[in-house]
């Protein structure tokens, strides 16, 4: 077993509903979904976020999509236009969850190395300029 950052195993998207945020975590490889179900318990996720979340964490499973949905209550300082947070709508909590370290078998750790991060040496292409 080795500890691997979740960013290499899953992608994610997050959003808001009032003071509640949700984060959908999607396995890159369907065969890693069961591992995520096992490791990403609501208790573990609640502990990961610590003081960032005032309320409970609920977890829902979407096995067809190899995805887990985490509902984070009291995550947005009141939410909407009440919140004083930069990220008042929870748009970037998606990658906050991907900071988690989880234990995976060695062969999985090797297989996912580098996944989820920009390849070394990549830079954005130049703008394509109209010539007419």
């Amino acid at each position: 077993m080795r500890s691997v950052q979740l960013v290499h195993l899953a992608h994610a998207r997050s959003g808001d509903k009032g003071d509640t945020a949700n984060v959908g975590v999607i396995a890159y490889e369907p065969e890693h979904y069961d591992l995520l179900v096992e490791r990403l318990t609501p208790e573990r996720v609640k502990r990961h976020f610590g003081t960032m979340i005032e309320g409970d964490v609920e977890r829902y499973e979407l096995p067809n999509l190899h995805a887990l949905n985490f509902v984070l209550h009291g995550a947005l300082d009141g939410g909407g236009t009440v919140s004083l947070m930069s990220d008042a709508q929870g748009k970037v909590l998606s990658t906050a969850i991907l900071r988690m370290e989880i234990e995976v078998p060695d062969e999985v750790a090797e297989a996912v190395e580098g996944r989820g991060r920009v390849p070394a040496g990549w830079t954005p292409p130049s703008p394509r300029v109209h010539d007419g």
């Binding site: 992608h11 509903k17 949700n22 959908g24 999607i26 829902y60 067809n64 947070m85 990658t95 906050a96």
Partner: protein, 467 residues
């Protein structure tokens, strides 16, 4: 638009519903690209975020002809001829708090665009409860806050707007009356996508599985390019040509299955990853996605690869809807302001934290009343908070960002005068105060509530006007 109007299905086995705006302020060119970039049958535009209704109400109070998404009118003037020529029907919740004013402006836009006599504009009203709240409360509708359980009467004086999320029924009625453009106020965003399916395929609103399929299609369609490669985390660096990103097109079939795609020669990417990210966006319990027309079960969604930039969706199931509509109430809940200053290396974060201490002490000595003072270091912890630990002295720069909230406007006003002085009276190497004082903003808070459908439906009206 001859041929597209009239009741019921023309026996079509596929219709293409194009998403063209994910919010008011989205890519202005996207609707034009959707109409001109290839075949579509319906164009749907979602303009209304929660906060938008209260803003529109404020505008209408100043000018009774205002109160709708004004961008929609010049857009229609621009695309009306192409829509008429190609038989593309348009659905938009651009009506805001003044759907009638919006529909009248769209009729005029059609005349200016030279399509007089060739198109009809439909109008859905009845979602606006703002003027009916006292009557509803008197009749026992408490409009209790869904999370806190407080009755709406507690804050009635502060309410600025209250609107029901209507379902697809009235939109379908407008289509069957021959409307080529349907303007609504508040409705369930997804209804703008599945109303055409109900109309074209003759679906019954009682067929929960079909309507739930339409809801999933609408959910994928309603945030614009967020399903076609925009804001997509999976391998984002490989997604091509976002400058001309293709917005989503739903190719719907009578059996409820559909394909998510985009126009050829557009940028972005439709993939299982991009579609899945959008399916899980802003949901709670995926097995019970509650809408006015059905309770959809997102856990039943099956995705299939159907070639380049084509993802198939099938297998969706649903259950009968509840007897309740969701109501979104916006109410005034005090004032806030946010001030920023930028600190440079070395020890940038420590300088910013020290400045924050000075600021808080001054605010305290002034005896100002705040419900909250919140400090973030942009460039360090403003996105992931305490998860990132403490910055080293070598971090090249951070922006100190301090926000305050109060029911006392004067306290917030005074806060805005306390940022700039820190430049000469606080820790060193600080810049970026040239933008002037922070702006005081009124806070519009949201009060989610439920109301019985039978208290709303008799007030819902549909009419159609000739251009």
């Amino acid at each position: 638009m001859s041929g597209s109007g009239g009741a019921g299905s023309g026996g079509r086995d596929v219709i293409r519903v194009a998403g063209a705006q994910g919010f008011w302020g989205d890519d202005l060119e996207a609707p034009v690209r959707q109409v001109e970039g290839g075949p579509i049958d319906y164009l749907m535009l979602d303009y209304l975020a929660e906060v938008t209704m209260s803003v529109l109400r404020k505008l209408k109070a100043r000018d009774p002809s205002a109160g709708y998404a004004r961008d929609f009118v010049p857009l229609m003037e621009r695309i009306f001829p192409a829509c008429v020529e190609r038989g593309v029907r348009v659905l938009a919740n651009a009506g805001g708090v003044n759907p009638l004013g919006c529909a009248e402006a769209v009729v005029e836009a059609g005349q200016a665009a030279g399509v007089a006599g060739e198109a009809r504009v439909g109008l859905v009203t009845g979602d606006d409860l703002t003027e009916r709240l006292e009557e509803l409360i008197a009749n026992g509708h408490t409009l209790t806050h869904m999370e806190t359980g407080r009755p709406l009467s507690d804050i009635l004086d502060d309410v600025r707007s209250a609107n029901v999320y209507l379902g697809a029924g009235p939109i379908v009625r407008a289509l069957s009356l021959g409307a080529d453009v349907v303007v609504t106020g508040r409705c369930a965003d997804a209804a703008l996508t599945y109303a055409p399916m109900i109309h074209e395929f003759g679906w019954s609103l009682d067929d929960a599985d079909l309507v739930a399929s339409g809801v999933v299609a609408g959910h994928i369609n309603e945030c614009g390019a967020q399903s076609t490669g925009g804001n997509c985390l999976a391998n984002w660096w490989e997604i091509p040509d976002l400058a001309v990103v293709g917005f989503p097109i739903i190719e719907a079939r009578p059996d409820g299955s559909f394909v998510v795609t985009k126009h050829p020669n557009s940028g972005g990417r439709v993939s299982r990853a991009s579609v899945t990210e959008q399916i899980v966006y802003e949901i709670g319990d995926p097995a019970s996605y509650v809408t006015p027309d059905v309770v959809a079960d997102f856990t039943t969604v099956q995705l299939t690869d159907e070639g380049r930039d084509r993802v198939g969706v099938h297998g969706v199931t649903g259950r009968a809807p509840t007897e309740l509509y969701k109501v979104s109430v916006a109410y005034s809940a005090g004032w806030k302001a946010v001030g920023t200053l930028t600190y440079a290396w070395p020890d940038a974060a420590l300088k910013a934290r020290a400045a924050d201490v000075v600021l808080r002490e001054r605010l305290d000595r002034l005896g100002l009343a705040f419900d909250e003072i919140r400090t973030e270091l942009v460039g360090w912890d403003s996105t992931h908070g305490p998860l990132v630990g403490e910055p080293s002295g070598e971090v090249p720069e951070v922006q100190l960002r301090v926000g305050v909230r109060s029911s006392d406007r004067a306290s917030v006003e005074r806060f805005t005068r306390e940022i700039s002085p820190l430049v000469l009276t606080g820790p060193p190497t600080v810049t970026a105060y040239g933008g002037g004082r922070p702006r005081v903003q009124e806070i519009m808070a949201f009060w989610p509530a439920l109301v019985r459908k039978d208290a709303v439906d008799p007030h819902v009206a549909v009419e159609v006007r000739e251009v």
